[in-house]
């Protein structure tokens, strides 16, 4: 686990233009975590970062990315012009022998965390620059404080790369899903279905790639866990839940009043070429969750939502239970395959599909994979040059871990094995795993 309070030293957002005069330094700080830090320390921290960032512009037109000191690592991210987000991570002060650096958090993972926090912010709130400066402080406080304390990044294969877990669905079931979506959109043209998620796996996506990832992460990491908890607390699934309900806004939609609580989001739909503001409506039955967008200038009334509920409810529960049956069959088949002695990670850059040998919702933590190994994979993934578009890399750690990374046809595949073997044996073994896992796709790295 990345122990948030202990590892994250601080996290802040600043814009130097907000308080250009001396004495106004505090105005530049839009958000600062942790809260209890006094203003002087805040000023010093931000001042340092401001200076570094400005100083670096003399050397490169690219914005500064990171700064490492003996005890801290600073990660910079400039999402919009002059807005800087900085994440400061503590690193063990006394560096002992090499190989004992397992506590170091790979910067790329933290960078990803920061980027996705910004994207979530942008989805729900919008661009920093569009917010009136005087409101920014409050909004940031409201958004980032819960966000940062809720993050739960465990040391797992599944957290190395930010991707989407797709549900492999047999084609007739898939057709059922899209025909349902089509029918819904034809009958309720103001509602556009943007995602269909089963459990935590994506089946249908109507957003552009980037926004999909953000919405998916919001659903899977934030909204759905809360819902599932609610469902479990509620005991047996009540009849109302079987027929489905609106889960965004979280209390459901039961009257005209509730419509005012609808979330507004900024998203770009797949068939659009610009980001627009929409209402986000999310509906859930059994384990299926469907998200819709509605144009913000559409007049919404409760009657439409009630009609939509009666329309979706029964159909979605039929579809959900048939998908459920299929998943059960699938799970039974997979259960028969003995758990292998290797771990793999698959990532498709083009649709962000992501798969690991240990499913993310698996209860047994994959403690077997050392953080160090994870960091190596993260590094390979981050460093585009080492693999290239078509390439292969094999790394051996001193404690007999073999890490293989392959890339081909815009896909990446990593295998981790711990065994005493030679390079050739490992290469052959990995080739065999590749053939097994990559059936039916073109995957031929050099």
């Amino acid at each position: 686990m990345i122990d948030t309070p202990h590892k994250i030293d601080s996290f802040f957002i600043f814009n130097s233009n907000f308080g250009p005069k001396e004495g106004d330094e505090l105005k530049r700080i839009l958000f600062f975590y942790p809260n209890q830090i006094n203003t002087d320390v805040r000023k010093t921290q931000v001042g340092l970062c401001e200076a570094i960032v400005r100083f670096m512009t003399t050397f490169s037109s690219e914005p500064c990315e990171a700064l490492q000191t003996q005890s801290k690592r600073y990660i910079f991210f400039q999402p919009e012009k002059n807005f800087w987000m900085v994440l400061v991570i503590r690193i063990p002060y006394a560096t002992k022998l090499s190989g004992d650096s397992k506590d170091v958090v790979e910067p790329s993972i933290m960078q990803d965390f920061m980027v996705s926090s910004y994207k979530t912010f942008r989805m729900f709130v919008g661009l920093f620059k569009d917010i009136p400066p005087e409101d920014t402080y409050g909004i940031c406080e409201q958004f980032f404080n819960p966000y940062i304390t809720s993050i739960d990044v465990s040391n797992d294969l599944s957290n190395i790369i930010q991707g989407i877990n797709y549900l492999p669905l047999e084609k007739n079931s898939f057709f059922k899903v899209i025909c349902f979506i089509d029918l819904l959109q034809v009958n309720y043209p103001q509602f556009k279905c943007i995602s269909f998620v089963y459990n935590d796996q994506l089946i249908w996506n109507g957003l552009c790639k980037d926004d999909m990832l953000t919405l998916y992460q919001y659903l899977v990491h934030s909204l759905l866990p809360k819902q599932v908890e609610k469902e479990i607390q509620g005991g047996a699934v009540t009849a109302a839940e079987r027929h489905g309900r609106f889960i965004s806004p979280p209390e459901g939609i039961h009257s005209d009043e509730d419509l005012k609580k609808l979330n507004k989001v900024y998203l770009r739909r797949e068939d659009d070429n610009e980001t627009k503001q929409y209402y986000l409506v999310i509906y859930r039955t059994l384990s299926a969750t469907v998200s819709f967008t509605v144009d913000v200038d559409t007049h919404v009334d409760f009657a439409t939502f009630r009609a939509l509920d009666t329309f979706i409810g029964p159909q979605l529960s039929t579809i959900a239970s048939s998908i459920g049956e299929q998943c059960t069959i699938h799970a039974l088949q997979n259960a028969q395959i003995a758990s292998p002695d290797h771990k793999f990670l698959y990532f498709n850059k083009l649709n962000l599909a992501f798969k690991t040998s240990t499913p993310s919702n698996c209860m047994t933590p994959s403690a077997a994979v050392k953080p160090e190994v994870l960091n190596i994979i993260a590094e390979i993934h981050q460093d585009h040059k080492s693999l290239g578009k078509y390439g292969e890399i094999i790394i051996k750690t001193p404690d007999e871990y073999w890490i293989t990374g392959k890339s081909s046809n815009d896909r990446e595949f990593y295998v981790v094995m711990q065994k005493n073997a030679n390079l050739k044996e490992i290469a052959d073994e990995v080739k065999r795993i590749c053939e097994m896992q990559m059936k039916g796709i073109f995957f031929y790295p050099m």
Partner: protein, 632 residues
């Protein structure tokens, strides 16, 4: 619920033929007879003295002649080849007999003879011509099948079979005679085939409910022979309920009885067109359609049917420029599809107006109507019209459209399975044209339906519904459909849908499709990724190498070639050119060296020498290599 109405469709689904065959109307001096075998009307004036006119739908078989009046005629019929005319008269003769007149080119030859039946005290109920030169006398003692020898003016008994019957019904299409015995409680069918009479399984009816002649018909529907019995009212209830028609199989029909619920009471008549049963009801002036092939629940081998569309009258017909009375009391209906108005002197056939079936259909029955049309010979055009209209209004009819697609594809699937079975069995079975009168292939669907909707708002949804239906029937998507889908989805901004369909194999696997996807690569890289995957599954390894070369990935191309086994056959010049280009562009001379060395090793292995041969035209690159080596 709003009903579906096919644009420009006829309100009526049954009409009489445009031009009735006219004949002299029935009058005190004129008698009219109808021969349902040949479909001919005989008008006999003054017993034939002032002339007999024969009119039929086939003009070449119409004629007129005179003959002697030897007494009132009961029945008059030509043999199937029109060379012998047989007449049965109502004379109080001791011995029942039938007269024969030989004809040549439809003109009487004055050769006459007569033949009496073998049972001297029997009453001849009628006679039929089962085939050329064969006649069957149907009597109350049984059936006698005779061979007619016109040259010898003789008849020879071929076979006779005894049965005590009061009346009979004849079906010319199946050559089956049904004799009613035991006061209408026992119906015995006989088949007249191959100069033989064979007794078929008798139909025993409830003896408390005997049937009368006008309620029994022998019909030929769907390659099976049926005895249709009108059952009026219920036997138990004191008040008579609506009439049902029972279809009891005589031959074929898989032993399933069909019961047609008319919901009406009164006088009925029956016609058969294209395996559809039409029940005409006089008092309500409606004609109901029944399709015994429709899927319906079947209990104890009894299938219950309702009219496929709401009862409707026939389209009003014109005679002499005036509307003639329809469902008139003067009408006589003969099977399969003749209607005669003896008073007006008209002979019509009954026709089906296919578009009329879709004139007023409840939404959830649209697919059923398409199912009915799929079983009709000329149903195709109406199906296209229905489809086109549904697609235009896809916002309203998307669900119905999917069902119609399912209906069409399930028929196609059954046909395809039957074809496979036929071919694998290696037998020469007749083509299954009768069972599958309408087949709408994927190519038809594209050219006649989908392509005409290029600008429709909901084409993406329509195309998806069609693919879903193909997938449901487990049919391989053919290229025209796949191509149209790709085009539609891409132009409508549904590339993600396209990709997820391709990923799940919903568009089939074909090289042409892969190329199409590849060409989308410049604005949708994910499509190109899938294209490469598909080529790999299709084992199009050389094409993969070409693609990688065109993407400026020479080293990967070599790698892929080595692993897929096409390495030894690749032209070295092409590879070197690509490597050279890449090396220069990215300033990585090692790329060129890697490819060059790989080729040298290949030459060594293939030819035993690492040199390039003259025909490979690699001189430029050999020079370039030397130069590089010299530089370093």
């Amino acid at each position: 619920m709003a009903k579906f109405c096919l644009n420009h469709s006829d309100k009526y689904y049954i009409s009489l033929s445009d031009q009735p065959k006219r004949f002299d109307a029935d009058s005190p001096v004129t008698n009219v007879f109808f021969d349902d075998n040949n479909g001919q009307v005989f008008t006999v004036r003054s017993g034939g003295v002032t002339g007999v006119t024969v009119n039929g739908l086939d003009d070449s078989k119409c004629t007129s002649f005179r003959m002697e009046d030897k007494g009132p005629i009961i029945s008059i019929k030509f043999s199937p080849d029109h060379k012998v005319l047989a007449i049965q008269r109502n004379i109080d003769a001791q011995i029942p007999a039938v007269e024969f007149y030989n004809f040549q080119d439809l003109i009487p030859t004055n050769v006459e003879y007569s033949h009496s039946c073998k049972w001297k005290n029997a009453k001849i109920l009628g006679f039929v011509w089962p085939r050329v030169n064969e006649i069957a006398f149907i009597t109350d003692h049984g059936i006698e099948l005779l061979q007619v020898l016109p040259e010898k003016k003789q008849l020879k008994t071929l076979k006779s079979i005894s049965f005590s019957g009061a009346w009979y019904s004849w079906c010319a299409q199946s050559n089956i005679v049904l004799l009613a015995g035991n006061n209408g409680a026992l119906l015995q069918p006989f088949s007249l085939h191959g100069s033989n009479i064979s007794k078929l399984q008798k139909l025993e009816l409830d003896s408390s409910r005997p049937v009368v002649e006008r309620d029994v018909f022998v019909l030929r529907i769907c390659d099976a022979s049926w005895c249709a019995i009108f059952r009026h009212g219920s036997p138990t209830a004191s008040t008579p309920g609506p009439t049902e028609v029972c279809l009891i199989p005589i031959t074929g029909g898989n032993g399933i009885q069909h019961v047609l619920k008319t919901g009406l009471v009164g006088r009925f008549a029956v016609s058969v067109i294209d395996n559809l049963l039409i029940i005409h009801h006089q008092s309500s002036q409606t004609s109901q359609l029944f399709d015994i092939l429709e899927e319906t629940k079947c209990e104890n081998n009894v299938a219950i049917h309702l009219p496929i569309v709401q009862g409707m009258s026939m389209k009003p017909a014109l005679v002499d420029g005036q509307e003639c009375p329809m469902y008139s009391g003067n009408w006589v209906v003969f099977q399969p599809d003749y209607i005669i108005d003896a008073r007006l002197g008209c002979l019509w056939t009954v026709n089906l107006i296919h578009s009329g079936l879709a004139h007023n259909v409840p939404r959830d029955e649209i697919s059923k109507i398409v199912g009915v049309l799929l079983r009709r010979k000329d149903g195709k055009d109406t199906i296209y019209s229905i489809l086109n209209q549904l697609i235009t209004q896809a916002d309203v009819y998307l669900v119905e459209l999917s069902r119609v697609f399912d209906e069409i594809n399930s028929v196609y699937r059954k046909w395809a399975d039957a074809e496979v079975a036929r071919n694998t069995a290696g037998q020469v079975v007749e083509k299954a044209g009768n069972t599958f009168p309408v087949l709408i292939s994927q190519a038809d669907m594209c050219s006649r339906v989908l392509q005409t909707h290029a600008d429709d708002k909901y084409l993406v949804q329509v195309v998806t519904a069609y693919l879903a239906s193909l997938s449901l029937q487990n049919m391989v998507v053919q290229h025209p459909v796949a191509e149209l889908c790709v085009r539609t989805l891409v132009t409508r901004g549904a590339s993600a849908r396209l990709r997820s369909l391709v990923r799940r194999g919903c568009l089939g696997e074909e090289q042409l499709l892969a190329c199409q996807l590849l060409s989308l690569g410049h604005f949708d890289p994910a499509a190109a990724q899938l294209a490469l995957d598909m080529m790999w599954r299709l084992k199009a390894f050389e094409e993969i190498v070409e693609v990688l070369l065109s993407w400026n990935e020479p080293v990967s191309a070599v790698g892929a070639a080595k692993q897929t086994g096409v390495w030894t056959t690749l032209a070295p010049r092409k590879l070197l050119a690509a490597a050279h280009h890449y090396a220069q562009e990215t300033n990585t001379p090692t790329t060129f060296l890697a490819v060059y060395h790989a080729l040298l090793a290949r030459n060594e292995r293939v030819r035993g020498s690492s040199h390039f041969v003259k025909g490979e035209q690699c001189d430029v690159y050999i020079e370039y290599y030397k130069q590089m080596m010299a530089d370093s």
